[in-house]
């Protein structure tokens, strides 16, 4: 009889995680804290990618600064890890520069909606074909637990020692108002639903925004009496209400609830395609690809 420990060694990494093949193995382990929701989000993303029948090799990942923005550095694809809040503007140039690329942005609540809020709404307005995956943990994790634009009122953070007095952003409402053609929200307690929404977002030929409400047990949880990852995920589960049900509920009933689901899937003409069309009208050709090597 083999001991339990020995048996464990016979389980390959691929068996432990079928998505390990997508990782830059030489960069592991990650910097993420144990219990962080980013791992669940990466798995849901890779599952969504597979079900959209897309290849990670054809994906360009762009990110800004923060825990969530470290994701692209661990995945085996072209990745651009930029400045704080500016990922979407870099992604805009990348997509317009080569519309054949599938461009996905990994960002967080601080990166996307505080310092990068302006780029978020303008990219939504343009309807440029980018898929934004915003891992919202309601706190600045990388810098040690400061209040963020999505921190619930009254929640504790190192810079909100008496509880947050700010009104948090509803990111889905924000991007829909700005013109996003696809928007969905799930929590890390909904990995399967999340992967399906990521798939739908990837397939939308336009600006797609997917919010992943995620746990930061290290900072948000510890500050707010939700010390374990499981207690946070349990809280997400208990407080989530599907959009279909929420549509029939009052504001008071929805107080403190997380509305999950797909909120909009309303395609309209995509931005880089409009630039292509202008080029075809004015020059008779598509926009030139990789011209720096030719002219």
């Amino acid at each position: 009889m083999m001991s339990e420990e020995k048996k464990q060694n016979f389980i390959t990494d691929e068996e432990k995680n079928p998505y390990i093949k997508y990782f830059r193995r030489d960069r592991l382990p990650t910097i993420f804290c144990s219990g962080c929701g980013i791992g669940i989000t990466i798995n849901s993303f890779l599952k969504g990618l597979e079900s959209a029948e897309m290849n990670l090799n054809n994906i360009s990942l762009v990110s800004g600064i923060g825990c969530s923005s470290r994701v692209p550095g661990y995945l085996k694809c072209d990745s651009l890890h930029t400045t704080h809040g500016r990922a979407i503007s870099f992604a805009t140039g990348l997509k317009v520069g080569n519309p054949d690329l599938n461009v996905v942005v990994f960002t967080g609540d601080g990166d996307a909606s505080a310092i990068g809020g302006n780029h978020l709404i303008h990219a939504a307005r343009r309807n440029i074909n980018l898929t934004i995956i915003c891992i919202n943990n309601n706190i600045y994790g990388m810098t040690g637990g400061q209040v963020s634009p999505t921190s619930p009122e009254g929640s504790l953070a190192t810079t909100a020692p008496y509880g947050s007095i700010d009104t948090p952003f509803n990111l889905i409402k924000l991007v829909i108002a700005a013109g996003a053609t696809f928007a969905g929200r799930w929590t890390t307690a909904h990995p399967l639903q999340l992967s399906k929404t990521i798939k739908n977002g990837l397939l939308n030929d336009g600006f797609s925004f997917i919010e992943v409400v995620s746990q930061c047990p290290t900072y948000y949880g510890r500050k707010n009496k939700l010390k374990t990852p499981s207690s946070m995920i349990k809280m997400f589960k208990e407080n989530s209400i599907n959009k279909r049900r929420a549509d029939n509920m009052s504001e008071e009933e929805l107080l403190g609830k997380i509305i999950v689901g797909e909120f909009v899937n309303n395609p309209r003409k995509e931005f880089s395609e409009k630039i292509e069309n202008l080029s075809i009208t004015e020059s008779g050709k598509n926009t030139i690809r990789k011209s720096a090597y030719k002219i």
Partner: protein, 375 residues
């Protein structure tokens, strides 16, 4: 074959960009640079290029960096306030070695200052505006012809050394109209793909001449590009003193060790001069006029026009300072490049500042009065 045109400086810059191979412009309107964006919004689609008006100057340079990594020669144009907003991403372009061109059509400053008047207040910002150690290339045109030529040269230098190149123009050069000659045949520097395949290629290798071949996103190399200190593979290595030192020194040395290839200056009558006038940009026109009048009246003066601002033309300035007693630096700020000249000249000669701010070009007669005081 040459073609002659009578055009505005900003138009010449935009034409030069297209000739250089620029096929992406990301920008934000700002006086006195806007005509560059307007010209390119009309003409980029005609050459299968892309024009995007971004939401601010931060995203403008962000988009330019993104487009450059897509394999497109890319640029933006702005003035002081927008140039200030771009500084963080200029640092990103430096550490990620992204070729691009930034045109800064300078106006009266600080802050919003004098939007429609000339100034040269951004000289040191071009050198030190972003945080950290880096070595930019900045060139400064003094005529409409040079605005065309230097934009073209700017793209070639950006590609050759994988570095952001700043064209330090000013309101006068941007808005004046002059005759320019265009050559039919123009040399452009084409980006070079690595010879090695994805398995063996080190995109940020610590090589002797400093500049690695550049691949694009979508080439199958699974490259990681980050603003963090990175190793030769491009992976973050933020706690290694060795990796950091190797990276930053390579970035700085790839410019400094090629100073002779990059630096360009024009000078005249310096051999027998008692006094040499030094300037750049629009005010270089003032010193050339001053020397002409001065020589006609028997005053032995010469001029030295810096085409390259950064890296600073150290050897050239040191050489001309050997045989004169006085150097006068003429600039449209309260003294920026004069400190660089002092740093190089040391005790070889006396360095004086002729400063003119407020939005008017220094007058040759005023400069001559300063010359006469020193004789």
């Amino acid at each position: 074959m040459t073609t002659e045109l009578f055009i505005q400086g900003n138009e010449a810059c935009a034409m030069g960009a297209i000739k250089a191979g620029c096929r992406f412009f990301g920008g934000y309107p700002i006086t006195p640079s806007t005509e560059i964006a307007e010209y390119l919004s009309i003409n980029l689609p005609k050459v299968s290029g892309s024009f995007v008006q971004m939401e601010d100057e931060i995203s403008a340079i962000g988009s330019v960096i993104g487009a450059s990594w897509a394999g497109i020669k890319s640029m933006t144009a702005t003035s002081g306030p927008g140039f200030s907003l771009m500084q963080e991403n200029i640092g990103f372009a430096m550490i990620s070695e992204t070729p691009l061109v930034i045109v800064d059509v300078q106006r009266g400053s600080p802050s919003t200052g004098q939007p429609t008047m000339v100034g040269q207040g951004d000289m040191m910002q071009a050198r030190w505006g972003s945080h950290g150690d880096y070595e930019p290339i900045a060139i400064s045109p003094s005529s409409v012809q040079e605005f065309f030529d230097f934009t073209l040269e700017g793209f070639n230098l950006a590609e050759k050394y994988r570095v952001p190149v700043i064209i330090l123009a000013d309101e006068i050069i941007g808005h004046m109209r002059e005759k320019i000659s265009l050559q039919d045949k123009i040399e452009t520097f084409k980006r070079v793909m690595p010879k090695e395949g994805p398995e063996t290629f080190l995109p940020f290798k610590n090589i002797e001449n400093g500049t690695n071949p550049m691949l694009s996103f979508g080439d199958g190399y699974n490259i990681h590009v980050t603003g963090l200190t990175h190793n030769e593979l491009g992976y973050p290595s933020t706690m290694s003193p060795e990796d950091h030192s190797n990276l930053v020194k390579r970035l700085v040395n790839k410019i400094l060790k090629n100073r002779n290839d990059i630096v360009s200056c024009d000078f005249k009558y310096c051999d027998d001069a008692d006094i040499i006038l030094i300037s750049y940009g629009a005010s270089a026109r003032s010193i050339m006029g001053t020397v002409k009048i001065g020589r006609n009246t028997g005053i032995k003066i010469g001029y030295f026009k810096m085409n390259t601002i950064w890296p600073f033309p150290e050897d050239e300035i040191a050489k001309i300072s050997e045989n004169v007693d006085d150097l006068i630096v003429v600039e449209m700020n309260l003294g920026q490049m004069v400190h660089e000249v002092e740093r190089i000249v040391k005790d070889n000669a006396k360095v004086h500042l002729f400063s003119e701010i407020g939005g008017t070009l220094p007058k040759p007669e005023d400069i001559l009065n300063k010359v006469r005081e020193l004789l």
